[in-house]
């Protein structure tokens, strides 16, 4: 294995199962020491990417290289990667210590060396006292940590994690998230993490790769993906978004006017520069970026505003979700999320309100709604 450069490179990777295209020419680069999350709905092909990297499945086309050398057809047991499986796949006939030692035992590491290393690996996941237990005697969270220790002991350059938190309860999942992130920083191991949970992806990753129907929709830092989604799919899969169809009118460099059913909307997005004039686009606006303002309010702080009627108000705890429809576009009610503060004068269905937002809160998607 090449030292230093532990970059994983995936080139035009494809996979079909019996004529069904599961992955379509996927291009992806994971840097050494990066925490990359592959995020997508079930059936999107995210687990297939992981299985192809791990060597559990043969690709139908394309190439995978690691540190410059081709690993596309390398047998699983020779790859310098280790996997944490979704259901942990701990060997039921082995104790915790035997499970963790497995990777060293099969490589012929001397016994005298194995025992201290098993202790160290279990210390990392705080399970020192559990050596002689069998997997069935552990809780879900403990099994998860054993699976992690078992992968770490092999000192891999890259760890593949297949929805490792899916089977844990909410509180444990939050704890494990922080633990995994700090572990990854500490050990500087590349993590390729597969999940369908966008909150998990945002809170842990250096970069996120959003995948849908076997194709990569967008790769970028969590904030980039959140604020500047590239496609309508990313915009709606990643939290809530209001999508407005429109036509672009170039104005200044990164600021433009867009004709929409709501009238002219001012948008500010660097990506506008690359788009042709009069291009059909979609504007994405986050519900929390929309505000209800006084009808005679200060126009300077809000570039866009429209008058509409409140359709519904839903109290969901920290926020209230309000739907407002403009008379000009009754088919496109906008969703607002406003903080639920006690004593605040409540908006009621049927009220006439003015909704306003800033130009920089509009993301311009160079694509139309399908």
């Amino acid at each position: 294995m090449a030292q230093g450069d532990g970059r994983l490179q995936i080139e035009r990777l494809s996979k079909n199962y019996g004529g069904v295209q599961v992955l379509d020419a996927v291009e992806l680069t994971v840097d050494d020491g990066e925490f990359l999350t592959i995020l997508g709905p079930s059936g999107s092909g995210k687990t297939t990417i992981l299985r192809l990297i791990g060597g559990f499945t043969e690709p139908s086309g394309g190439r995978i290289t690691f540190g410059g050398s081709d690993v596309t057809h390398m047998p699983i047991y020779r790859r310098p990667f280790n996997t944490v499986f979704q259901d942990y796949a701990l060997f039921p006939h082995m104790t915790v210590a035997q499970n963790v030692a497995y990777g060293l035992v099969v490589r012929g590491v001397p016994k005298a060396e194995i025992t201290p290393r098993v202790g160290e690996a279990l210390a990392v996941v705080s399970l020192e006292g559990f050596m002689d237990r069998y997997p069935t005697q552990l809780s879900g969270g403990q099994r998860q940590r054993v699976a992690l220790a078992r992968a770490l002991i092999c000192q891999p350059r890259l760890i593949l994690l297949d929805e490792p938190l899916a089977a844990l309860d909410a509180e444990l999942r939050r704890q494990m998230r922080a633990f995994l992130k700090s572990l990854q920083r500490q050990l500087r191991i590349t993590f390729v993490f597969v999940t369908h949970d966008q909150e998990e992806a945002i809170s842990m990753s250096d970069r996120i790769c959003v995948i849908n129907q076997g194709k990569i929709e967008q790769i970028g830092a969590p904030k980039e993906i959140y604020y500047r989604p590239a496609t309508p799919f990313v915009a709606t899969f990643f939290g809530d978004n209001n999508l407005l169809p429109g036509h672009l009118h170039h104005d200044r460099r990164d600021t433009a006017n867009v004709d929409t059913p709501f009238g002219k909307i001012v948008v500010r997005d660097p990506r506008v520069v690359d788009l042709p004039a009069n291009a059909a686009i979609t504007i994405a606006v986050r519900p929390e970026a929309l505000h209800i303002v006084a009808a005679s309010g200060d126009a300077a702080t809000h570039d866009n505003r429209f008058a509409g009627q409140v359709l519904s108000v839903e109290f969901v705890g920290a926020t209230s979700q309000i739907r407002v429809a403009a008379p000009a576009a009754p088919d496109h009610p906008l969703l607002l999320k406003v903080p639920s503060l006690a004593g605040e004068s409540a908006v009621r269905p049927g009220d006439q309100v003015t909704v306003a937002w800033r130009a920089q809160d509009c993301a311009v998607l160079p694509a139309t709604l399908v």
Binding site: G54, G55, F56, P75, I76, Y77, R78, R79, F81, N82, T83, F85, D87, A89, L90, F91, P92, H93, M94, Y102, G103, V105, V106, R107, Y134, T136, Q137, R150, A151, C154
Partner: protein
């Protein structure tokens, strides 16, 4: 209603449930008691009696057991049969594991079609199966014809019929499905995940087989071997039909006591010895077949 019944007063419905409960208890314990335990006890009792001039003497004694232990021709048949059953078991465990492993690696319809093919002989009459095998083993049988065709033999051999080898081959063939099926089920139950995890941790296919597949299939393999041994050690039909005079086994010895020799007490004592051996094997298999990790 619910609040009343929780006080536990023996009301009318409770009493009816009581009778029903008794009926079930009687069925569950009574039928095995009458059909299994009672005959066994009868046998045990017979074993302590003796026969004189064609009449059964009901005097308690261990004479039958001493007679068995003191007669070398009996003990030789006994140990010979134990070794025969052991050999059948070893052959079938090795062969059965290979077949079961091969089957478990197949995919789709072919796999289950072949498994069904294994089950079909189990539904056939045992005697018919043995006669079929006897036809194959005889001097003009399929086996001899094949060996001559392949040039291994120049003329038909009578090595395959009416001796212990014939009994060995017949029992192995007839009992093979009993060995394959538990091993196959054990192999099928191993999730693919474990094999993938093993390879992922750096184990070669052989290491994965030895460290994951084999130990996880061990309980099923022990059960398969046990079936095979217990069925082989007590069998008298196969030796009777293909064993000839040289293929004498313990099962035939027992059988002859109830037939020609007309010594039911001695036959019963021999059966009790066989029963103890079989029970011992079953207990040992139970121990071996449930390792610590399965009992957790």
């Amino acid at each position: 209603m619910a609040a009343l019944s929780t006080t536990g007063r023996p009301g009318h419905p409770d009493r009816r449930r009581g009778w029903l409960h008794l009926f079930w208890l009687a069925t569950v314990y009574g039928i095995p008691a009458i059909l299994i335990v009672l005959p066994l006890l009868t046998f045990l009792m017979f074993g302590f009696w003796s026969v004189e001039e064609g009449r059964i003497l009901r005097d308690f004694s261990f004479d039958n057991y001493f007679a068995f232990a003191g007669n070398e021709s009996y003990t030789r048949v006994f140990t010979g049969t134990l070794f025969l059953a052991l050999r059948v078991m070893i052959i079938n465990v090795l062969l059965g594991f290979a077949v079961a492993y091969f089957l478990s690696r197949l995919e789709g319809r072919l796999k289950y079609a072949l498994v069904l093919g294994l089950i079909v002989p189990l539904l056939m009459s045992y005697i018919i199966k043995i006669y079929a095998i006897r036809g194959i083993l005889g001097t003009s049988g399929l086996l001899n014809k094949l060996l001559i065709f392949l040039g291994i033999l120049s003329q038909p051999s009578d090595l395959f019929l009416f001796n212990l080898t014939a009994v060995l081959i017949t029992l192995s063939l007839a009992l093979l499905p009993f060995t394959i099926l538990p091993i196959f089920i054990a192999l099928e139950k191993i999730p693919a995940n474990y094999l993938e995890a093993s390879a992922d941790l750096g184990a070669t296919p052989w290491q994965t087989f030895r460290r994951v597949t084999l130990p996880m299939a061990l309980p099923g393999t022990v059960v398969g071997g046990m079936f095979c041994f217990v069925l082989a050690v007590g069998d008298f039909l196969a030796p009777e039909l293909v064993g000839g005079t040289r293929g004498f086994t313990y099962g035939r010895l027992v059988f002859s006591q109830f037939g020609m020799a007309f010594n039911w007490p001695f036959g019963a004592a021999l059966s009790v010895i066989l029963l103890i051996v079989s029970l011992g094997v079953i207990v040992a298999a139970g121990r071996l077949g449930s390792p610590k990790w399965l009992r957790q």
